[in-house]
Amino acid sequence: MTAQDHALCSHCLLPIGRRAMRRTVNGETCAFCCYGCCIAYQVKHGKTEEWEAAWLLIRLGVGGFLSMNIMLFSLLLYSDAFSGADAEMLPWIHLLLWLFATPAVIILGGPFLREAWLHGMEGRLTSSALIVLGVGAAYLYSAFATIEGSPHVYFDTATMVLMLFTAGYYLDAAGRARAARDLQPLLAAESEWATVVIGDGEYRRPVREVDAGVLVRVRPGERIPVDGVIMEGESHTDEALITGESRQIAKGVGSHVIAGSINLDGPLLIQSSGVANATRWAQICRSVRDALIRRSPSQRLADNIVGVFVPIILVLGIGASVYWARHLPFDRALLIGLAVLVVACPCAVGLAAPMATSLGIGRLARHGCLVRDPAALEALARIRLIAFDKTGTLTSGQARVVAIDSDGTRADVVLAHAAGLERHSEHGLARAIAAAAAARGLEPVAIHDVRVLPGRGIRGKSDGRIVAAGSAALMRELDWSLTPNLAECGRRREASSHSVIYVGWGERAYAVLSLDDTPLPEARSTVEALRCRGVRVTLLTGDLPAAAVRIAAAVGIESGDIEAGLTPEAKRAALERRRHDHGMVAMVGDGLNDAPVLAGADVGIAVGSATDLAREAAAVVLPPGGLRTLPWVIDVARAVRATILTNLAWAFGYNLIAIGLAMAGVLQPVLAAAVMAGSSIIVVLNSLRLERLPEPAPSAAAEGAPPPRSTAVPVNSEALQAGRPACPVPPI
């Protein structure tokens, strides 16, 4: 366990802050954010043979036994069972209650006293101090009352308040642990164990001790702890945790596997290909952990309020006692002050934001969307304008053949010649041409003596003729003529920012291929979905205006919302202007060349790349191909914010009303403790509603079997078949 592990509660995975409680459970040091988590964790994880878990339960059970008996006797007292002839029994009953109450108060109140003492030594007043003060006052008063023989004792109040608080904290913590369910597998990367095979033996080792080249055995149902290559066995894996796509992927000997994916159905022997703490899983783990530890603005506000809450309640409680003591008997006034102390609940205020945030972050992370800061999640909910970068964000970032303008020759013939040449090249445009030919089922023309001419193109020989594909300069170099039509076509295509390749054989050029980046299939629906959510969409790109207009039209961004030809500084300035007009703005980019703009936006969203999460400038990182999840991410962010606001409204409203009632003397202390225990449980339940949010829309790949992106050729069929240059604007 690293020191970092102790920044999050071992039970509910919420940040611990300064209220840490440390315990050793099952031989491991654990840290808890509150007494409730401490109990719930030990009850859930404490091993049967461990004395500590049993001891905790014994203490709680015996405490419960004593306080329930006190309550029963007190009920008899309240129903006047000892009036009249039995009145001389009363002092003895009081003595019996005192006898029961003393161990009960020590057993149940011990943890609260210890916490109050530790925090008191640091000069802080926390809610446990309120409990200790209230219970202590009730117990001491009752003890004096017993000695003096007065008719009323309040041992039941003291013990029932302690019991209700303990039970309330436990239920609260048990509910909170459900928030941790989504986060658990993400945070397991550092604490996971691996079965290492050395020689004939198998040993369990912490995953952080597994180096490259080590053989690791993974049984069906286990999580693969390291990146590596399968040496033995066949299975299916589910990489949902890493890629955000839940589907089975068949793996055999030689297949690569990713750390964090689940081995579904066959035992595997894997050779680790890197250090365990350098896997993407480990990076995600660190990123999520960092995000959970950070505090959002609303959280800071709540924490500040909690900081001054306890002293104020203390003053109010004492004030209420002093005021009522002038009108009522002393014991009644004391009970009113006690009710004020126990009814106030800073727990609900403190829990309002972190519970909802961690549920939201966990939910997003399960689908591969990483949020690096809770503040970003809250800001995202308020976004009214999103600016997109073009290349690699709205578009695939890979060129495709979009048009073939020929000089009377059939497009297929042109493509077969070009593909025959280009399959010898590794250039991005060359791959696009080969893919276009393959998609149309063309057999590339056999070409030999192929030479790549850097910067100009490629040439070779077929049937004794020279075949060439490349720039206009290459055509001139070969002294091949271009018909005016073809030359004009090429110029116009180039002017609209296409890449053009002239193709010729024999002694002249026959056609010009136009290649361009094309929008992602999900870009249009994403832009529409954002607009439905009241978010304005703009395009900020460094590309030429013509290309920007074309892509914007294809994905449905209005022409007034485009700015093209921007340098990174100009992009930032453009974003700044929009922030001035629209309030909060988000910028979506691919995270590599947009870093300054992403950092400059209120929320920077990186799509796809995110190779090194630690150095990203973006606050939100979507998985590769994750543009489609953006509207869902905004839905989640808005739901989280709404939950935080309702939680805070409830917590403050509850406290105002409850303290008011308690000060007016309407609320019995036992009832007050029950209400207080319920208030933070309501915050937990309200936050758990976030679990019912819908899943993100499934991707096209998961829905059916569309053609792979790189081989799709949405070329203008008219231009392909046409005998003469048409130069149409390709409809995309």
Binding site: W55, G64, A81
Partner: protein, 239 residues
Amino acid sequence: MTAYLVIFVAGFAGSFHCIGMCGGFACALGRDPQGRGATVLRHLLYNTGRLTTYCFLGGLAGAIGQVICTPQGTTVPLLGGPLDTGQRILAILAGLLMIAMALQFFGLLPRLHRITTGSGASTLAASLGSLLTAPGHAAPLAFGVFNGFLPCPLVYAFAAQAASTAGALPGFLTMAAFGLGTFPAMLLMGGVGRALAPAWRQRGVWLAGSCILLLGLVTVGRGILPFAVHFAHGWTEPA
């Protein structure tokens, strides 16, 4: 007193039903290595813990019933006394709940069975496992206390009955009668449980179901019938 006797009988008969779950705990509690006396003490402590929880639940249910229907704080004795509208509604609800539980005992409401003995029981029981083997006298007592809170249709039925009494004291007495009824069988579980034929267990369950059904019908009757008071007065002995 008759009513408390019926409850005691229901508890006694019903405890054969408990052999399934609580009986298992009683068996697992096992024998104390220090001899027969220590073993008896161990089981007595366990049952005392259980009884305390039942009594507490009864008192609490009665007090809640009292808060609901008689804000003035006048308690009504079990199955007697004048009834106001709130008490009638409470009696009908509690009676219906008891009838539902009784039907479930006869195996007529399988869905309800799943709800009343939900999965919470098994996880809680698993967590409490450490208490069964822990040494000392405090562990069985603590286990008994938690055991009392485990979901159980019998407990629900009599808690409902306790609530319908609308008083902390009669509520407490209701559950105390029930808890004492379960004492003999649970105490004997260590040795006798295995020897008891399944047919006898089934008869015990039917007897318990019949008792609860009877009590449920009477409770509903108190809420509905205009002559309930006379009926109840004729049925119970005047205090």
